[in-house]
């Protein structure tokens, strides 16, 4: 087996030769676009004065809603109506209301800052509470129910109730939103856009410009991180750049400054959830009732799909016979909240985890034990009626106990706590169960285009966008394995609407599944054609063989003792009129869901795992430190375990940041308060504990994807929640047994200190 390629662009990245958007395809007369942003959370635009902006030397144009030639609506795949530039009413702080096109970035930014806008302010709704009171919901509440919840509570030995408020999270992709738009000769436009969805950018740019889709080309070589933040939210900026290029007939480049990016783009949805859990005396879940309310922001964006994923993950890894899940998506005057790795699942999962944690305390059961007792077993179905296939949650927790030497670890932590008054250690554990597929069923399709050139090298295009997750290496490895060739024969092209049309967003962890299968199908067609050619090649040389006996391996095709190199066979095939180009297509079978009934099969399979974190809290300051992390992850037969490890490390740390230090509040004017990395804290290398162990379980599961692999992008994000539970546990060890700890989410050092102070106050009362 040849060494697996981890990253096709790795060498380019470490030498600085990799090119990101705005670093190629630039022309000498390229213009720069700056955005005039709304400073008002909700209001009517009374007047706009751009005279002094226009007067600046080097300014070419000021563009407003009136200059949009097509339909002023960038909403995609839903019934909302989100303007590219609002004609009269602004809905959030940071909403683009005009564009300045100028010779240089400096002039464009200076001119944009000179545009003055007067608003007639209107009441702004910012909080979930206010939205619910004003009935500002995107859709009627969604429900999934099973069994008899009232009876379960009537029969329970232990009832846990609570409310959790979960904060937002800023994506902080290192590469801010950007797009380079270049006019084509026929009035079309090519967009080099920072987007996870070439199709959406193409369709929306065409719509706002009043052009046919085929006039818009979208090309994405790579993104400098995305994490969901460029799934739908790249579209606005690409649309604006397209409008500027269409208006000026020049290449136009728009790149957001970091402060503008954080101010103006949507975040992970804040949720406010209430939960009630009914358990038997031995810790079995009898019933669960949860209400999820998300803060969707000013336009619907992906709020419904995100709420749905929250509902589908409210059971998490546990069989709950009687359950009621209700979800609200609230409309507020914040930037439209959006996709972020996990996509509603973390917010749906957290309530059941805190409820189980509290039930364990109340019943005197070990927190891992109570979780093991409730994990799905074979034959059980999720609340929405789908059988939970390959349910290995319990095994994952057992593997985790072994990996972390849990019993000894618990003893050590207890010893530490017994001998320290002002520092306490805690252990947090969460399993993971994450459903794989777009819950919007029709998105579960992929395609790929493979060309074999006459020298035996291969050009591969597929629908996935490379953003650091190495989808290119994974999809290329599928082609390499199918054709028995080495990876260095394969060049993966940029994601481009001309080569792969109608591509689904690279999202929902499905990038390598759907595009890998599509590429496999394309490669299989080529293999069949080449097999016919190989039989002919050998027979012309007096060697009889049949297609079934041919082996494609090590850059050659072999039948018994006969062998032809891949390159020679390809050249033979070409000169004998063999089509060496192939398109492959795949859709995920069986994904259906009835939203009215709350029943269906939203997932193709699940990814399981478990994580444990040990943290130490300074009770006098609230500061804390993560000491140890252990993760067990079920990857089935990974396409590339090295890539999966990188994804797990990265996802865990992002999830850990989310529930601990990442705090993005807004004020009563609807303005985000942390607009830079000096005020928005996310993990640095100093937050990584000295012990960080990951065990990949690579047993082939019955329910998996291409070549027996499983998706990996989002599932490990959930593991990060173990960090919150470690802090919670540490705080619990600092108070008398039975005392409540009210720890906020995110558990910033300030929140940890407040939780300690509040509980101390209660004790003295």
């Amino acid at each position: 087996m040849p060494k697996k390629t981890r990253h096709l662009s790795g060498k380019l990245h470490v030498t600085g030769r990799s090119l990101f958007i705005g670093e190629e395809h630039i022309s000498a007369d390229m213009c720069h676009v700056a955005v005039v942003f709304s400073t008002c959370a909700h209001g009517r635009i009374i007047s706009m004065d751009a005279v002094s902006a226009k007067a600046l030397s080097g300014v070419h144009a000021i563009i407003t809603a009136a200059d949009i030639p097509g339909e002023n609506n960038i909403a995609h795949g839903n019934n909302d109506n989100q303007p590219l530039l609002p004609a009269d009413t602004v809905m959030y702080v940071g909403q683009p209301i005009a564009l300045v096109v100028a010779d240089s970035r400096q002039v464009a930014l200076e001119a944009a800052s000179r545009v003055t806008v007067n608003y007639e302010e209107m009441p702004a709704i910012l909080s979930i509470d206010a939205a619910v009171k004003a009935n500002q919901l995107y859709v009627p509440p969604r429900k999934i129910q099973r069994g008899d919840v009232a009876r379960a509570f009537a029969e329970a030995d232990c009832i846990i109730e609570g409310e959790v408020k979960i904060g937002a999270q800023e994506h902080f992709y290192l590469e801010t939103q950007r797009c380079l738009a270049t006019p084509d000769e026929d009035g079309g436009i090519t967009l080099y856009a920072a987007t996870q969805s070439t199709t959406e950018v193409q369709a929306v740019a065409a719509r706002v410009l009043g052009l046919a889709n085929h006039k818009i080309t979208v090309d994405v070589k790579r993104l400098g991180g995305a994490f969901g933040g460029k799934e739908s939210q790249g579209t606005l900026w690409a649309g604006l750049a397209a409008l500027a290029a269409h208006y000026t007939h020049k290449s136009c480049y728009l790149e957001l400054r970091r402060i503008d990016d954080i101010m103006a783009t949507g975040k992970r949805h804040p949720f406010e959830n209430t939960y009630r859990l009914a358990c038997s005396a031995d810790g079995r879940i009898l019933g669960y009732e949860v209400i999820l309310k998300s803060n969707g922001g000013a336009y619907i964006d992906l709020s419904l799909a995100i709420l749905e994923r929250g509902l589908y993950h409210s059971d998490h890894a546990y069989f709950i016979p009687n359950i009621s899940i209700t979800g609200y998506a609230c409309k507020t005057n914040l930037p439209p909240n959006t996709a972020f790795r996990g996509f509603g699942a973390p917010q749906g999962i957290f309530p059941i985890e805190i409820a189980l944690q509290q039930a364990a305390e109340k019943l005197g059961i070990d927190p891992i034990e109570i979780r093991k007792r409730n994990c799905y077993i074979t034959g059980q179905t999720a609340p929405y009626g789908m059988e939970v296939c390959d349910p290995v949650g319990r095994e994952m927790l057992e593997e985790l106990e072994a990996l972390a030497s849990y019993k000894q670890l618990r003893n050590k932590v207890d010893e530490y706590n017994a001998s320290h008054q002002y520092h306490k250690q805690g252990i947090g554990v969460v399993p993971g169960k994450f459903g794989i597929s777009f819950t919007t069923g029709f998105l579960n399709q992929g395609s790929a285009l493979v060309w074999i050139y006459t020298d035996g090298t291969i050009s591969l295009s597929h629908g996935g966008v490379e953003m650091g997750q190495s989808v290119n290496a994974k999809v290329a490895s599928v082609v390499a394995r199918t054709l028995g060739v080495s990876m260095d024969r394969i060049r993966v092209e940029s994601a481009n609407t001309k080569r792969v049309g109608n591509a689904s967003p690279t999202a929902a962890s499905t990038g390598s599944d759907i595009n890998g299968y599509a590429a496999e199908n394309a490669a299989k067609k080529l293999k069949r054609r080449l097999s016919r050619m190989a039989v002919r090649y050998f027979s012309e040389r007096g060697i009889a063989c049949v297609e079934e006996d041919l082996v494609f391996a090590d850059d050659a095709v072999v039948s018994g003792d006969a062998r032809v190199s891949f390159a020679d066979l390809v050249n033979f095939a070409y000169t004998h009129y063999c089509d060496l180009g192939s398109h492959g297509y795949y859709f995920t079978p069986g994904i259906t869901f009835n939203r009215e009934k709350g029943r269906g099969t939203p997932f193709y399979y699940f990814v399981f795992g478990a994580a444990l974190a040990v943290s130490q809290v300074d009770l006098l300051t609230g500061e804390y430190e993560c000491k140890k992390i252990y993760i067990v992850h079920d990857s089935s037969q990974s396409l590339n375990p090295d890539i999966d490890l990188g994804q797990i490390y990265g996802a865990f740390v992002q999830g850990y940041g989310y529930c601990t230090m990442e705090d993005i509040s807004f004020n009563d004017k609807g303005q985000y308060l942390a607009l830079t990395p000096s005020t928005y804290k996310f993990p640095t290398i100093c937050d990584i504990p000295p012990t960080f162990k990951i065990k990949l379980l690579d047993l082939l599961r019955e329910h998996a994807s291409v070549l027996g692999s499983k998706a990996v992008g989002e599932p490990p994000f959930i593991y990060g929640l173990a960090g919150w539970f470690a802090l919670y546990d540490a705080l619990k060890r600092s108070v008398p047994q039975g005392s409540a700890i009210d720890l906020a989410f995110p558990a910033t050092p300030e929140a940890v200190l407040m939780a300690k102070v509040q509980s101390a106050k209660k004790e003295t009362v």
Binding site: R6, H7, S9, G10, K11, L12, H13, V14, T15, G16, R17, S18, L19, F20, E23, H171, F172, Y173, L174, E175, T176, R222, L223, G224, G225, F227, R257, R258, I259, M467, G468, Q469, S470, D642, I643, L645, G646, Y649, G650, A651, F652, V653, Q654, T676, P677, S678, F682, P683, T684, I685, C686, I688, P690, F692
Partner: protein, 162 residues
């Protein structure tokens, strides 16, 4: 003289660029786009270059303050024969690269650390790299890469001593 050395090459700086940032000068005038603008306020570390072997945030460094000095960008890290520097290779081998946007700054900051301290402790590596933000990797493999890369600097130092 309004010159500086960039990647071992003498560069004359046009007067109009002296008040601009070093990052803009490198990217727009010299077309060295390896180093990135991640935050524009000198916090994320994606723009890090070395000035006389010391890491500097080029996005908040004025060109005029580095006149007469030696600037090393990521493009200057490769060996004279065009092969990868062992530290770059260590980043690849450790899987320390995902989206690649923070990578140039990470490599250069690590290079500066290892030049002055080829035998760093875990804590010293963390302190040196705490100002370089990465959102993809979770840092573990970056840490491993620096520890692995350090071997080369130790060997090099050994040779100089002989």
């Amino acid at each position: 003289m309004n010159t500086m050395i960039v990647n071992r090459e003498k560069i004359t700086v046009p007067p109009a660029w002296e008040k601009r940032t070093l990052l803009d000068f490198l990217r727009e005038y010299l077309h060295l786009t390896g180093n990135k603008n991640g935050c524009g306020i000198g916090v994320c570390g994606a723009c890090t270059v070395l000035v006389d072997e010391v890491p500097r945030r080029s996005c908040i460094t004025k060109v005029e303050t580095v006149l007469g000095k030696q600037v090393l960008t990521i493009e200057g890290m490769e060996q004279n024969d065009g092969s990868l520097h062992p530290l770059q290779q260590a980043f690849l081998d450790a899987g320390a690269v995902q989206c690649g946007f923070c990578t140039p700054g990470m490599v250069l900051t690590s290079h500066a650390l290892l030049l002055r301290n080829p035998n760093p402790t875990e804590e010293e590596v963390k302190q040196a790299l705490k100002g370089n933000l990465c959102r993809c990797t979770g840092y573990v493999q970056i840490f491993d890469a620096v520890m692995k890369g350090a071997e080369f600097y130790r060997k090099k130092e050994g040779k100089t001593d002989e």
